[in-house]
Subunit: 361 residues, 3 copies
């Protein structure tokens, strides 16, 4: 134990040494990312104005290897100021890239851009989010996305994983949903809850096959969660990106606000298994049940009945980024997360098209 | 550690092997359970309409040994549809017994019954609850009860336990308490909080004697809890039924919604010790203090003063199921949890009795 | 592991043995502490009536060595009844010193005092708080303070600590802030959140230098917290005062209501680093952002820009008790926590002064 602790405490020193010796392998990755005013349909009947990274909620997947240098130009195409905080990165020698307005930088004004330039010196399940007026921008406007940094030395159990899934939990408040600059008062309460920006039944199945070793990366993006998977215990392996010395089994996993917990599950129990936030208030859509932060794991080859809630549902295989997680380093948009352009824009464009058309005539 | 992890990951495989070799010892247990419309008195002055398993809140204790087969017929005598989810069971090869409406079965309609048939292939502190309209049925209507599965291989520390106690934490909302079909909107807040269905001072003392090794199984049935015992640290030994590799000491134990945490305490400090949920909002009865999810551990032989809050209190020794936990496998009603028949029923029965009487006359 | 567990379970027995052999070194410390009606300015524009231990919020630091005897006379100078519970102490053979009204003592009436006399038989990050009408007295009126008991056998990593910081998290409700006897209903929600009684930007920087080994003792005094430090992972070393067998790294640390978590951080990453409760609702002042339970770690020698939020801020080096923690055993008032006498008192005193003056004339 003492050894173990010492090893841990040398962590940062060690990674620098490794870093020096491995720097030949480190890559420099250049990305562009925009912030757009969009409308997210959380579930039919409930839409929410968002400031969407690359026009989507959650934002695009940023993927890199431990030790890589990222140069990310963030262009603010919205009408209010923002920043981006890269939650979990150490920002060693680059504290001015930490993305906190009035502390590490001035906020990025509408129309402006900012270049974030830093080395991803911590591996694991990280994320990024705005750090301006957090209760509204992060809490209610979808300004969050995943950043997965592949470790130089994965643990044995990580190496066994055959399927990746990312679940980001968030809340929404329909009372202020359609008005920018409103919401986030501590006495207001959310009425919608979602995984990856969608509330049940608008979430998607997570399809697996027997024998899969599934890693689910749980992100409490805007609200805490108590994740419960039916039919399986999960092994809790990572906290905030780093492996636990003493993993433990659970059927309800608490993820505190802003935290991440990775769990690994052997898919050895074919069936149709609901999995969801077990906080009661998070399992309805403004009181309409079922709803909320709920989804279903479907094993390949299992027959479902006619009355199955999701019978014949149109399937989007990338809803948990399982497809996108197969790609290598880069910034990856995820089509199913795309929000819509606001009505006014659509009308303007329609008008333009019409006027072009009439001019053409 | 690696060994340990491997051991863990082989868990399911292993239990099947054990299972095969020990199947001769496995029992088949057949139970009946009903769902009744009842009225629960949480504390004098506050009653709540419930759908009570076997007419009680919490529901009856289900007790079995790891590997047993349970066949439970659930009869719905209420006016709305329900199911029963057996939280924590793996339901290996029996996913259709998982109790999720629209996913694993059609909800049990009023007057109908459903036979759940499954093997309890995971040991420890499990529970069961309805899975229809969870924010109301579970969150506000008392549809939850304990299921304790004795492990084939208890840990050393478990073997030392001399006294068992079960504490199930829940919240209530007096504004919707007496109207079925109402309540559960995420913006509503509870105003009563309880242990095993009662709010202080209507809870009961937990009486121990010096030398007892007390195991308290904490269940966050409908609300999270931060359990604090005065005068002792507790050793946190189990999470969601399974033993931790690395138990730890605590004086405040967080139990996330739906989770269970087992703690073991050596009763070596004679006195009168309050113990309670440390979440401030959970320690009053609609603002009246003291109240809420609070109780007191009383050591045998300790003298109390005249002004002691519970001086001369009528004692119900089974309020934490310490008596019922001495019984073997089976479904065990717990008298102190009995709810009352609703007023209308009582009137009807009275009428019937009267009419019978008048006919007889 | 088994050994380890045994060792743990012998804990209490062992400390008594040690205690007997070391009793020669144990000290008896006598303190006086008062409860005063004061007004706390949480941030300009928001003040709250409090019952302040020694006139300050948080209360004074109580510091002793494991095994010491404390004799604390608490004088109630307020208009309502109170007690003091010494949260985390075992109170072995002294359960009547546990501070629970109606259970271990009668509440201390206005004008009265009570002598608490007990041995601090558990080391670590403890605290004290009132146990009368907790949702108001503790939850909203500042009746809480730190008690740090130095262990006889500190862990290796504890011995490396070069700088101590204490952070106590609390909430406030401006709607009932200025009226004693109001507030604490479970359906009321807080609108201000603070560290050591102040909301950002009225909190203070925590100044460190490269090479410091910083121990932060996190206390969820009245609300849970999800503590996030930018630019560093923290090693979670202690839970509720006692060392973990298996410390773990985190960038978001959940502290349940009433719980304490100690974290140790090597200050090896010079910069200006915000750190805060990551629960969104806790990061504004009644909706005004930025605000809430937020502060900033400033490394010595790091240049900040003109637009830095805290540029030229008047610095109070003891805001996290880093100075006071250098003192030995005793009860230590902390000047920066002083609340103000209420308006009426000030008026009375002014009047008195005036009348004295006029008499003198």
């Amino acid at each position: 134990m003492k050894l173990c602790l010492l090893r841990k405490f040398k962590y940062l020193t060690v990674i620098f040494t490794i870093f020096a010796s491995q720097i030949v392998n480190a890559e420099t990755l250049k990305f562009d990312m925009t912030i757009e005013e969009m409308v997210k349909e959380v579930t039919p009947g409930f839409t929410n104005k968002v400031w969407a990274f690359n026009g989507q909620v959650p934002g695009p997947l940023i993927r890199a290897k431990e030790g890589d240098r990222l140069i990310i130009t963030v262009q603010n195409n919205s009408t209010l100021a923002h920043t981006v905080h890269w939650h979990g990165t150490f920002q060693t020698n680059s504290w001015k890239m930490d993305g906190v307005p009035g502390v590490t930088q001035k906020a990025i004004q509408p129309g402006d851009s900012f270049v974030y330039d830093f080395i991803v010196d911590k591996p694991g399940s990280l994320w990024y989010h705005c750090h301006v007026n957090v209760p509204e921008h992060v809490g209610l406007r979808g300004m969050w996305g995943p950043m997965i940094i592949d470790p130089k030395e994965p643990t044995d159990i990580e190496k066994e994983v055959t399927k990746e899934a990312i679940m980001m939990f968030s809340g929404w408040n329909s009372e202020v949903a359609m008005e920018y600059g409103k919401g986030g008062h501590p006495q207001e309460l959310n009425d919608y809850f979602s995984i990856n920006g969608k509330s049940f039944p608008s979430t998607q199945p997570l399809r697996v096959k027997e024998g899969d070793v599934l890693r689910i990366r749980l992100f409490a993006a805007t609200v805490e969660a108590a994740y419960h998977l039916h039919g399986h215990d999960v092994l809790v392996t990572h906290k905030d990106g780093l492996p636990l010395d003493s993993p433990y089994w659970a059927d309800v996993v608490h993820v505190p606000s802003g935290g991440r917990v990775d769990v690994i599950v052997r898919m050895n129990n074919p069936g149709i298994w609901i999995n969801h936030d077990h906080i009661e208030a998070h399992t309805s859509n403004a009181g309409k049940m079922p709803g909320g932060a709920v989804t279903i794991i479907e094993y390949e080859g299992v027959e479902t009945e006619e009355w199955y809630k999701w019978k014949g549902k149109e399937y989007q295989p990338d809803f948990y980024m399982s497809e996108t997680m197969k790609k290598g380093s880069g910034i990856h948009n995820v089509d199913v997360y795309k929000a819509k352009a606001p009505e006014s824009d659509r009308r303007k464009r329609k008008k333009k098209r019409k006027s072009k058309k009439s001019k053409a005539e």
